[in-house]
């Protein structure tokens, strides 16, 4: 038995998005199926793998564990909305340079987590990167190149800040 669907207004990537959701629909379902924002992936639907990680009000959350109804007063950012941000571009460049991805399925979640880390801590060390991103699983790369890429992007962004 399913409750009637409701129309909600969400704030996604800086724009209003109107969606029709069931009571139990997760943010991940809404992003992927209604808004065609498919960068966030469904790897487990239990909040463990991290492939669905997005940003909510400046902090990372699991889209698969976020109720769509509970997101109406929140600012949601997905990878699609961050592609033009300097910090995200620095991360993407570093990921490419360091081969910090292979199949790419975990990459959007990794980039989101890294982006949020650098927002709150622009100078992490390797241990802090590992601790901040331990909630994003990867099966291909062995993680080491990801850590290098995040540190590299952080250094690049700090250098840019200092440049006139």
């Amino acid at each position: 038995m399913s409750a009637p669907r409701q129309t909600l207004q969400l704030q996604v990537n800086g724009a209003e998005a109107e969606v029709r959701v069931g009571l139990h629909d997760s943010l991940l379902t809404v992003l992927r199926d209604q808004l065609q924002l498919t960068a966030a992936k469904r790897g487990c639907n239990q909040g463990v793998c991290g492939a669905c990680t997005v940003v909510r009000d400046g902090y990372t959350v699991r889209a698969c564990l976020s109720l769509a109804h509970g997101c109406t007063h929140a600012d949601i950012e997905t990878l699609e909305g961050l592609n033009q941000e300097a910090s995200m571009q620095a991360l993407q460049k570093a990921f490419a340079a360091e081969s910090a991805f292979q199949c790419g399925f975990c990459a959007p979640g990794m980039l989101i987590s890294a982006h949020a880390l650098l927002l709150h801590n622009p100078s992490p060390d390797a241990d802090q990167v590992r601790a901040a991103m331990s909630g994003n699983l990867c099966r291909c790369t062995g993680y080491a190149p990801i850590v290098v890429a995040v540190l590299q992007a952080a250094a690049h962004l700090r250098a840019q800040e200092l440049a006139p």
Partner: protein, 784 residues
């Protein structure tokens, strides 16, 4: 022997040897890459499965009425929609598209629904009633092989088998390899170790769960996209399982979120095609993570009885290996895994007297199949521990015993195959030096008062092949002189598209941006067995280079005609042009030559190559072999690995702070990607070594979720991993390349186990080397 190789010793401008960024980099890093779950087709329906709750039961009937009555349900399929004779299977054709007449494991697909939304499809699936007569189940291999055990397949005689499998009752296949005279050899041994080892089922946990999307066109032809490692295996499996001619099915490939073997053979594709045929609309079905754990396949649980004998001076004389693999309910790749594990059981050593034999048992569990390493991680866990144990007993250094016995130039592999390039010596040197092995603290020094941990180093070496079966390549020069490469090889994230394009660009001396690589398509691509067995760089690479060679011939022929000279006087020049040797001014661009071919004479320039790996595995004058499922397997790559382990003496938990891996890959076509494979394989190997284990609670998988089945996180990764790429220039390999995909996982568990011995004195014979098992080995009195 196929001479389609080119040796380029030094090509500073060439693409080969460069760490070119993956071609799909931008789309993956901006989130635009389309994986199967991201795909939509107009009018698409969504599919969901019903799984069997029983390990073994007869299906007496179905009641679909409640499911059919649910609004939004468009089609339901069950075993009733299948012909019993239609079976698929890589070695033994024993597997239907879904359960038909009986279920053989908990989680097996029993029915599937296509509906307007996934939620409706799943709800409808739950409303399907299936009437079962539950039967006793055979849940472990040893008891399954006993007289009177419940049979998984009643009528194995009726199944097509592609080799001499010896299938009988619950014996799926049996294989044996024998060299020398084992029985008399034991008498020559001063030291003998014998032990039984147990390795668990390991789940692939590709981040992307399996899924498929099928669409029927107006002519009734089916287009099928799926998460796969081979469009040709998908095509063969679906057509065999549904009784379709292959011309009726076109298989395509979206971006793939890794495979490691999970996606090499069929998963839901036959069922999804069946749904699409019944609904007459496109159907997409994506497995949940739990369904992916339970329904698809995993690494074979194995029991390995191994016995090794050596002389006092450390020379290995004798080896007996008896392998029992849990094959699960369907054969899948099991006979191949068994045969390969036996072929590799000795490791890269000269042991004169060997008897390696084994069996795969059918059980009422999920099928077990291909997983990176393909049986070698299991036997290496045993073999490298035995080598280590012998060394300790003889008070010999771990490197010394390996150097004494390892394969050298001119040595042949078990069975008799020649080895043309062997970098083992360099690999051992690299990790011995890099790890500081000779200066590592003696055991006593690592035990500080009140210390809560002990450290130790462990060494293990291994090998892997690249080769197997068929591949092809087509290189077409387009009208503007650019090149289109089509190989049918699926890039599952490891970067084969990039590496193959590099080789094509190198062969024709053009920059990478003049080469495009087509997506695998059973309609347009030449056959490629699959992305498995670490074979694409070597096998498909050789085809690519050969096909490019054909293109070069045609370019020279037409250029000769255009410039009025013999083709032998034409040379390729960097950047996509040709000229007359010694005459710098005389040159034509590829575009000009292609224009000539298209519009004047000759026809479009197309180069193609196809071949099957052709080096015989067995020399019958040397080895007696029974039931080996592959006559020709591949060329050998080698690896040496040292790990430093740290054992927490309070809890038994093991971590690996440092690792050193040296791999002879022949030639690194793309060094960053080679390192990527080695890094990834180390971590997947650490998971296998320390935390990963599929656990059954009776007939049911107890931990089919990422909450309960734990793979390494970023926090478990060795903060320090030094990688040494050894290049021995394999003469038969494209630009000297061999393989790296599986090499890096084979030795990890053994190296960790050997490290634990050095740290604590405890040798463990069961994987994973979990904190609990290590604790129990350290403090057996706590479990008395």
């Amino acid at each position: 022997m196929n001479t389609a190789t080119k040796q380029f010793d030094a090509l500073p401008e060439g693409a080969v040897g460069q760490s070119v960024t993956q071609l799909e980099s931008d789309e993956k890093l901006t989130g635009q890459a389309q994986y199967i779950a991201d795909m939509y087709r107009p009018g698409m329906l969504h599919g969901a499965l019903l799984q069997s709750p029983h390990a073994h039961a007869l299906i007496e009937g179905y009641d679909l009425s409640a499911a059919q009555a649910l609004p939004g349900v468009r089609a339901i399929v069950t075993g009733m929609d299948l012909e019993p004779a239609h079976r698929m299977g890589a070695f033994i054709k024993d597997e239907p598209a879904m359960a038909l007449d009986k279920v053989r494991y908990c989680g097996e697909i029993v029915a599937a629904v296509a509906a307007d939304t996934e939620a409706i499809a799943r709800q409808a699936a739950r409303l399907i009633k299936v009437f079962y007569q539950v039967l006793p189940a055979a849940l472990d291999p040893a008891s399954a092989l006993q007289e009177g055990a419940p049979l998984v397949h009643e009528n194995t005689d009726s199944y097509i088998k592609v080799f001499d499998a010896g299938t009988q009752g619950n014996l799926c296949s049996r294989t044996s390899m024998r060299e020398g005279d084992l029985e008399s050899a034991w008498a020559q041994c001063d030291v003998v170790v014998e032990q039984v080892y147990h390795t668990p089922g390991q789940a692939h946990v590709s981040l992307e769960p399996c899924g498929a999307l099928a669409e029927i066109d107006a002519a009734g032809r089916i287009t099928l996209w799926s998460a796969n490692q081979s469009v040709f295996r998908v095509q063969a499996n679906v057509c065999e399982a549904l009784g379709l001619p292959m011309t009726k099915l076109r298989c395509l490939t979206p971006r793939i979120g890794a495979g490691f073997g999970n996606k090499m053979e069929a998963h839901v594709q036959p069922v999804v095609v069946l749904l699409a045929m019944k609904a007459r609309k496109p159907v997409k079905l994506i497995l949940s993570r739990e369904e992916d754990f339970e329904t698809v396949r995993a690494r074979h649980p194995a029991t390995i009885r191994m016995k090794t004998g050596a002389r006092r001076d450390g020379t290995l004389i004798a080896r007996e290996t008896e392998l029992l693999l849990d094959g699960g309910a369907y054969g899948d790749d099991s006979p191949g895994v068994l045969g390969y594990a036996l072929l590799m059981n000795c490791g890269p050593y000269n042991i004169a007297h060997v008897h390696a034999h084994g069996r795969v048992a059918y059980t009422h569990k999920m099928r077990f199949g291909a997983f990176r390493g393909f049986g070698v991680p299991q036997v290496t866990f045993a073999s490298e521990q035995q080598i280590d144990a012998i060394a300790r007993e003889l008070d010999m250094d771990a490197f010394a015993i390996r150097r004494l016995n390892m394969k050298r130039d001119g040595d042949r592999w078990l069975g008799g195959q020649s080895i043309f390039s062997n970098g083992l010596a360099q690999c051992l040197d690299a990790v011995e030096q890099g790890s500081g092995w000779k200066h590592r603290p003696a055991q006593a020094d690592t035990k500080a008062a009140n210390s809560e941990s002990r450290t130790g180093m462990g060494l293990a070496i291994s090998a892997h092949i690249s080769g197997l079966l068929a591949t092809g390549a087509i290189v077409r020069m387009l009208e503007d002189g650019t090149l289109l490469l089509n190989t049918g090889a699926v890039d599952i994230g490891q970067g084969s598209n990039t590496a193959l394009a590099q080789m094509c660009a190198q062969a024709l001396q053009v920059p990478m941006d003049r080469v495009a690589i087509a997506s695998p398509d059973t309609d347009g691509s030449p056959y490629n067995w699959g992305t498995t067995a670490s074979r694409v760089t070597y096998m498909t690479g050789r085809s690519v280079v050969a096909a490019a060679g054909e293109v070069e011939k045609q370019i020279k022929k037409y250029a000769g005609a255009m410039m009025e000279c013999a083709p032998e006087d034409i040379e390729l020049r960097q950047g996509g042009s040709v000229g007359i040797k010694g005459v710098a001014a005389a040159s034509l661009s590829f575009a000009q030559v292609s224009g000539y071919a298209h519009w004047a004479a000759g026809g479009p320039i197309i180069g193609s190559n196809s071949w099957v790996f052709d080096q015989k595995t067995v020399d019958p004058k040397r080895a007696v072999v029974l039931g080996l499922p592959f006559a020709n397997i591949g060329v050998f790559s080698f690896v040496a690995q040292v790990v430093e382990v740290e054992v927490d003496t309070l809890s038994g938990k093991v971590r690996v702070p440092r690792a050193w891996t040296a791999a002879d890959v022949g030639r690194a076509i793309n060094p960053a990607m080679v390192r990527g494979q080695i890094e990834g394989a180390l971590v997947q190997g650490i998971g296998y070594a320390l935390t990963e284990e599929l656990v059954w609670d009776g007939p049911r998988l107890a931990n089919p979720s990422l909450m309960d089945y734990k793979i390494p996180t970023m926090a478990e990764v060795p903060p320090s991993h030094d990688i040494y790429i050894v290049e021995t220039q394999e003469p038969t390999g494209p630009y000297g390349a061999k393989s790296v995909g599986e090499l890096g996982i084979n030795a990890v568990a053994a190296a960790v186990a050997n490290g634990i011995v050095e740290a604590t004195g405890a040798r463990l014979t069961q994987l994973p080397l979990s904190a609990e098992r290590v604790y129990q080995a350290l403090y057996p009195q706590d479990f008395a």
